[in-house]
């Protein structure tokens, strides 16, 4: 991959990020409500105190100036203070981000582990009972309202059988010095296997809840692209060469069929990232999504702005990564 292609893609980030910034800023600005009032709600405070808080938050500046300041700071990676935490936004986000990444990655892995084999088998055995069951299952998957399904999962596994924890991300008995801040990974890296197991137990239910709809979508994509590939001339030619069915399937068909799945997976990961606040709420997962939603409610502008920018960057980068992977799977396409 050429450096110019990378530069080109990164340059494309600029208008997207600018657009996202403008929209999020406009939304925050046009939304009624005053963070200071929210902060002081139902409590003793004088107008003077409110004014001083407002000044601290920079709310006494005109909106355009605030936007300019925001943009200027954002360029240097400084997103100001979170109104409510009264700590740097970057810190607050950094604390929550690993949990979100861990959950999203886990969900993605689960989704792929479900989707790819099922999709392949369903395509190969097109029309069979397995294919039909997989299709029906995938339709169930996309039809499940995650918040409801999450609660339903909690009752048998956590409340009744007590197999899995109800809420949270980490076990108290485990202290793992952070490396990547992803608990499962860190535990493994540090050789604390028991802790890795614990961390997995916490991760299981939320990750499955989050993964199912994505798995369903990916399975359908996988099945469809596999069907198309199986119909292709090059698969026929591979068979005519007298290769083993295994090699035809795994080397010739799968590699090509994965390409569209990768693209869809990137888009889906974007929506996993942005959509996991519901799951985070149900399972008390200390991720960014919940924090952002809460921040919208309390008009914590700096945090919302920074987080949305972060999502946008992640989304664009994910798609970029998918494109790179795509070119690996399909060398015909240039970046």
């Amino acid at each position: 991959m050429k450096a110019s292609a990378v530069a080109y893609r990164l340059l494309q980030l600029v208008p997207v990020l600018l657009g996202v910034s403008v929209i999020v800023f406009l939304m925050m600005w046009l939304t009624p409500g005053d963070p200071v009032e929210v902060m002081l709600a139902g409590q003793q405070a004088t107008a003077e105190q409110a004014a001083s808080l407002r000044h601290d938050m920079g709310l006494d500046q005109p909106p355009l100036q605030r936007f300019a300041v925001f943009l200027g700071n954002a360029l240097t990676g400084n997103f100001g203070l979170s109104f409510f935490h009264r700590r740097p936004v970057a810190d607050v986000i950094a604390e929550r981000l690993p949990a979100t990444i861990e959950l999203t990655l886990a969900a993605l892995v689960i989704a792929l582990l479900i989707a790819i084999p099922l999709g392949v088998v369903a395509a190969v055995k097109r029309g069979s009972l397995f294919d039909r069951l997989a299709t029906v299952g995938s339709l169930f998957g996309v039809s499940l309202p995650g918040f409801w399904f999450g609660i339903l999962l909690l009752i048998p596994f956590s409340v009744n059988l007590k197999l899995l924890p109800v809420s949270g991300r980490s076990s108290l008995s485990c202290e793992v010095a952070p490396i990547t801040h992803l608990l499962v990974l860190d535990s493994l890296l540090r050789g604390q296997l028991a802790c890795a197991g614990e961390a997995l137990r916490f991760l299981t239910l939320p990750a499955i809840t989050l993964a199912l709809p994505t798995a369903a979508v990916l399975m359908r994509v996988m099945r469809a692209s596999m069907l198309e590939v199986l119909r292709s001339d090059y698969v026929a030619f591979a068979e005519a060469k007298g290769l083993s069915p295994r090699r035809v399937l795994l080397r010739h068909a799968l590699k090509n069929a994965l390409a569209p799945t990768v693209t869809v997976a990137a888009i889906e990961t974007g929506s996993l990232l942005g959509g996991n606040m519901v799951v985070e709420t149900v399972f008390g997962w200390p991720g960014l999504g919940r924090l952002v939603v809460e921040s919208i409610f309390v008009r914590n502008y700096p945090l919302v702005q920074a987080a949305v920018l972060l999502y946008a960057v992640t989304y664009v980068l994910l798609n970029f990564a998918a494109d790179i992977l795509y070119t690996r799977l399909n060398p015909k396409v240039e970046l």
């Binding site: 939304t31 009624p32 409500g33 005053d34 963070p35 009032e37 929210v38 902060m39 002081l40 709600a41 139902g42 409590q43 003793q44 405070a45 004088t46 107008a47 003077e48 105190q49 409110a50 001083s52 808080l53 601290d56 409510f84 935490h85 009264r86 700590r87 740097p88 607050v92 604390e95 929550r96 949990a99 609660i151 909690l154 009752i155 956590s158 409340v159 007590k162 924890p165 109800v166 809420s167 949270g168 991300r169 980490s170 108290l172 202290e175 709420t281 149900v282 399972f283 008390g284 200390p286 991720g287 919940r290 924090l291 409610f297 309390v298 008009r299």
Partner: protein
């Protein structure tokens, strides 16, 4: 032994001077002590102070204990107290920022260190509730803050409380362990000594059902903010029980007194008569609330127990409506924030049955609050809301919600007589006289009925049966110093 609390909201910031959130304070209070505190009867008692006296109307003097150590082993002196309160009250004292808690300490002019263990609070004007407000503030170490700065204090703790910070897993849990050199806490609240449990964990479980589930599963020992509907289930379980305590939050429906139809006192009274409060308390709150006829909690200073009650009386309500020129009833809206939707709907449906046809509008907190701010447009009809009163003193509930134009006056209520009484009481040092003033002000408000007076809900906790020595406290604090796990 570990004690785990299933809690709702993570601390925002571990700096006691740099937040305005009750939940954060509840957590911090287990690691930090205050100059004063409250006992389980809500009486203000010394904690880091040995005693206090009022030298003159604007000067309060505190004698500080000499045996208190910070978690880092350094000794706490009056210097630290002075530093703490200077930091709270001086503009820009926190590395350029001003503490959002400044107002909670009142009109402080300066803090004077008389000797290393004697501190004086010099006020700009008399402020009788200073002792009632001091339990909200926690003392920090001057040396430590100067070392780590405000930024450092946001995530590190060096307090004088019974527990010290082990780890803050943000958004997930806060783990503390016993501070073995703890001086013992307030002598007025036995037992005195170091904490009973080895470790305390505040685990954040925002979802109500999950908190209950965690308690039932034995993952937590105390489940805070238990929904009333889960009480039955917990009572039925073998390893947990329900504990309740009167809260400090007054619920009411603010009526827009500046606009038809509620500009007419008869309509407001009709609304009070129209609501079967008891039914709501029994069926929806399952009996976990005390009905109110005024602003103040029965536990609060200056509570007036003799206020007349607006009995549930649909006939009377109808008559009052008719008298006011609404023989066919009225159509009004009731604004409410999401979390109280269900109960507001119950209230609305009961009012509707009494010809006050109510449409409930659920709004998002910030928006609704902006709508009902005294400087707002005054467009709504009714607003289902509440006001906290952690100090149990009228000054921080009565004044903001009912004094003309004050911040929380969502009924836009204005009665010069009441204002006069409130202003006078604010600086009155004779507590008996002060109480009398508030009582008569309560009577006036009761007669004017700017609200539909509702109730004071109890705080409900689900508590594991292996826990002993812990009592819920009316100010919603969860003080784990005395708790033991068997």
């Amino acid at each position: 032994k570990d004690l785990t609390v299933g809690f709702t909201l993570d601390a925002l910031n571990l700096d006691p001077a740099n937040h305005r959130v009750r939940q954060t304070e509840t957590i911090l209070r287990n690691m930090y002590d205050g100059v004063l505190t409250r006992d389980s009867q809500m009486k203000v008692v010394p904690e880091l102070a040995e005693s206090w006296t009022q030298v003159d109307p604007t000067t309060w003097e505190f004698k500080i204990r000499k045996d208190v150590l910070f978690h880092d082993g350094t000794k706490m002196t009056g210097e630290d107290i002075k530093f703490t309160f200077d930091r709270l009250t001086r503009d820009g004292a926190m590395d350029g920022q001003t503490s959002p808690r400044k107002d909670l300490v009142g009109p402080v002019k300066e803090i004077v260190l008389v000797d290393p263990y004697t501190v004086r609070f010099v006020l700009k004007e008399p402020w009788p509730i200073l002792p009632a407000m001091l339990p909200f503030q926690e003392v920090v170490s001057k040396a430590f803050v100067e070392k780590v700065g405000t930024a450092g204090l946001a995530t590190q703790v060096n307090g004088t409380g019974p527990f010290k910070l082990v780890e803050w897993r943000k958004g997930d849990s806060i783990i503390m362990e016993r501070f073995d050199k703890y001086y013992g806490g307030s002598p007025a609240i036995p037992p005195v000594g170091k904490a009973c449990v080895d470790r305390v964990i505040f685990k954040m479980i925002p979802e109500n059902a999950s908190r209950t589930a965690a308690l039932l599963a034995g993952e937590v020992d105390i489940a805070a903010e238990l929904p009333a509907s889960d009480m039955k289930r917990i009572e039925a379980s073998q390893n947990a029980k329900v504990m309740k305590v009167n809260g400090t939050r007054t619920f009411f429906v603010a009526l827009n007194t500046t606009k038809k139809p509620f500009d007419d006192p008869r309509v407001r009274k009709a609304a009070n008569h129209a609501l079967d409060k008891k039914l709501v308390i029994d069926r929806v709150l399952l009996g976990t609330a005390v009905p109110l006829n005024g602003v103040m909690s029965p536990d609060a200073f200056g509570y007036n127990p003799d206020l007349p009650e607006y009995k549930y009386d649909p006939a009377q309500a109808k008559k009052l409506l008719a008298d006011a020129g609404y023989p066919n009833g009225i159509d009004v809206t009731l604004d409410v924030e999401g979390p109280f939707k269900e109960i507001a709907e119950a209230v609305g449906s009961l009012l509707t049955k009494a010809n006050i046809r109510t449409t409930v509008t659920v709004g998002e907190g910030s928006t609704i609050r902006a709508k009902w701010a005294p400087k707002g447009e005054k467009k709504g009809d009714m607003y289902f809301t509440s006001w906290g009163n952690g100090s149990l003193d009228p000054a921080d509930i009565f004044v903001p919600t009912l004094r003309t134009g004050d911040r929380g006056n969502s009924a836009f209520y204005s009665n010069p007589e009441v204002d006069k009484l409130l202003d006078a009481a604010n600086t009155e040092l004779d507590q008996a006289k002060r109480a009398a003033m508030y009582k008569s002000a309560q009577a006036m408000v009761n007669a004017d009925a700017p609200w539909i007076f509702l109730w004071l809900p109890q705080d409900i906790y689900g508590v594991s049966k292996r826990l002993s020595g812990w009592q819920p406290s009316a100010d919603s604090k969860i003080n784990l110093h005395d708790a033991c796990v068997n």
